[in-house]
């Protein structure tokens, strides 16, 4: 405390300092960065073609179970290289996470901020929309929609984007209500700022930390949901290397070759866990007083 008083840092530098001291944030950030790099560089680093099938080399075990370094993580029932499929699968998961959560973010933010800022009828209407959305189980509606519209990567992504906006709306509504009663909003209003300007320049920046935290949560949610849909056979279609689909394909051989589901499962866990940790870290760094 005495240090900050004699040597005041700007809020931004304080935040940067907290970020650098936050072990969870640094660690999860490093894992995420690695996964993103793997996804981008997939064609360069993947040892084999993730789609190439070969009956001669099917079900080779991973190295630690007596396999060879030619297929470090073994091969699946169609003889495809697990490592290469895993590497390309990172692309599918990250893309789905980013785009779905991005679409949800736009929908949820517009609804949440308008409800919180305008109140009254707008608020009632948004709450009604949130309630309708929450009443219908995500997985059921997503399964039905994908089965009726067809299971392409684009459709799966969009269906999830249109379904996962509820948390954005709920949290941003509450955060905006808090910001709205601040004096700087009244001041901006008195100075003659237009409503779009107030929303964009005064409200949005002040709810941004909430927005980023929910964005990470929903990215993780979308990635798990896609894996679940693909596992049930109504998500991304074969032969796309999706981690959920890899688990689903390995399910048949669960009793004999359990590494087939272990490997993509661990990858999925690592990605989702890092995203959640990263989100938690951002919350700690941007709002240190709200840690409990």
């Amino acid at each position: 405390m005495t240090m900050t008083r004699t040597l005041p840092l700007s809020p931004r530098r304080q935040m940067a300092q907290r970020a650098l001291r936050h072990r969870g944030l640094i660690l999860s950030g490093a894992v995420l960065l690695a996964i993103v790099l793997i996804a981008i560089l997939a064609p360069v680093i993947a040892p084999h073609d993730p789609y190439r099938q070969s009956l001669v080399t099917r079900l080779r075990p991973p190295v630690w179970l007596g396999g060879t370094w030619q297929y470090p993580l073994g091969t699946d029932a169609l003889g495809r290289d697990m490592l290469s499929r895993l590497i390309y699968g990172a692309r599918v998961s990250l893309m789905i996470g980013l785009i779905s959560a991005g679409v949800s973010m736009v929908i949820g933010t517009v609804l949440g901020i308008s409800a919180g800022y305008f109140g009254g009828r707008v608020d009632s209407f948004v709450q009604y929309l949130i309630n309708v959305r929450l009443a219908m189980p995500v997985i059921l509606v997503a399964l039905a929609a994908v089965s009726l519209l067809g299971g392409s990567l684009l459709i799966v992504t969009m269906v999830m984007g249109l379904l996962l906006w509820d948390r954005f709306a709920v949290v941003l509504r509450a955060a905006t209500m808090q910001v709205r009663s601040m004096e700087y909003i009244a001041a901006a209003d008195m100075l003659g700022a237009t409503q779009p300007r107030i929303l964009w320049k005064d409200v949005l920046p002040n709810v941004m930390s909430h927005l980023i935290v929910i964005l990470t949560l929903e990215m993780a949610h979308a990635i798990i949901l896609e894996a679940g849909l693909s596992f049930l056979g109504l998500g991304v279609q074969p032969p796309t290397p999706s981690w959920g689909l890899m688990i689903s394909e390995g399910k048949e051989l669960l009793l004999f070759d359990s590494w087939l589901i272990m490997i993509p499962g661990v990858a999925l866990f690592l990605l989702v866990f890092s995203i959640n940790m990263f989100g938690d870290g951002i919350r700690d760094v941007t709002a240190p007083e709200g840690r409990n």
Partner: protein, 304 residues
């Protein structure tokens, strides 16, 4: 309190009505339902015949009201895949799902509440950190994968429990864990924050000063108050679990309503799909309403 409840009831009714419109609208989502029913290679005459037979030639509003009127009486038509009445089919399957839901939420409460209390007794201690860490880890494990891992471990390697089926109570053990663990972190966190808040309040300090034994303070004074929001969260989670049952029942091949939902969707069985979306949503709406009512009854501050 009555006004608050009436408002909630009105919202619940409105949401239920909207959900019914969406469930009904499903048959038009994939295009012309008559063409879909007729299948490939159907002549225009057959399509027209099916259209007239199912009443698809009437105005959509009339079709909706007709469907709703039948649905309200529990008549959802006949399943084209299972060839029996949808209502009978679902009633039969719902028993397993409800059993699983009750077991799942009990598991979540039995694990989550004690963990939350333990964590709240010493905030930021090792126990607290460990509990929070378990919660974060738990949230990152996909439930279908968790289910498969449990099968490998307990059914295949150890041979203690069956991998699938609902022939005895043993068949419910693994599905209960898979369904319940997902709700556990939220219940644990809410118990923890509630307990920390209550333990810092004046009446707890007074009780301590009077010399009330710590155990009595913890359970009789603190937990009773901290558990109020947890109970309503549990009701909401119970609604979410119906959705989760789709995945869990598929993994363990339990023939409940969740498995039926997956079957009807993959077989394109529209009447069953419609009925299940409506019923699952209604359960959620009823559970959240009960949670609100319970909250208002237990916590007078919420009534205004």
């Amino acid at each position: 309190m009555l006004r608050y409840l009436l408002g909630r009831l009105g919202m619940a009714a409105l949401v239920a009505l909207t959900v019914s419109v969406i469930s009904f609208g499903l048959i038009y989502m994939a295009g012309d339902p008559a063409v879909a029913l007729a299948g490939e290679n159907a002549t225009p005459e057959i399509i027209a015949q099916i259209r007239a037979q199912h009443g698809y030639d009437r105005p959509i509003a009339v079709q909706y009201l007709d469907w709703l009127a039948h649905a309200l009486r529990g008549d959802f038509g006949v399943s084209p895949y299972f060839k029996i009445e949808v209502a009978t089919l679902i009633a039969d399957r719902l028993r397993i799902t409800m059993t699983l839901g009750v077991l799942g939420i009990s598991f979540a409460l039995l694990v989550g509440v004690p963990m939350g209390v333990l964590a709240a007794m010493r905030p930021n201690s090792m126990i607290d950190r460990a509990a929070l860490f378990i919660a974060v880890v738990g949230q990152a494990i996909p439930s279908f994968w968790f289910g498969l891992i449990l099968i490998v471990l307990f059914a295949v390697n150890l041979g203690w429990l069956p991998a699938s089926g609902a022939d005895s109570w043993k068949g419910f053990v693994l599905p209960t864990i898979v369904l319940g663990y997902y709700a556990t972190p939220a219940i644990m966190r809410l118990t923890r924050t509630g307990m920390i808040e209550v333990l810092g309040s004046d009446y707890i300090r007074t009780a301590r000063a009077k010399g009330v034994p710590p155990r009595k303070i913890l359970f009789k004074h603190a937990l009773r108050n901290a558990v109020i929001p947890v109970v309503s969260l549990a009701a909401v989670q119970m609604g979410f679990m119906l959705g989760g049952s789709i995945v869990t029942e598929s993994v363990f091949a339990l023939h409940g309503a969740g498995y039926l939902a997956w079957q009807s969707i993959s077989r394109n069985d529209l009447p069953t799909m419609q009925a299940l979306i409506l019923i699952f949503s209604l359960f959620y709406i009823i559970f959240t309403f009960l949670a609100d009512a319970l909250n208002a009854w237990l916590d007078p501050r919420l009534r205004d």
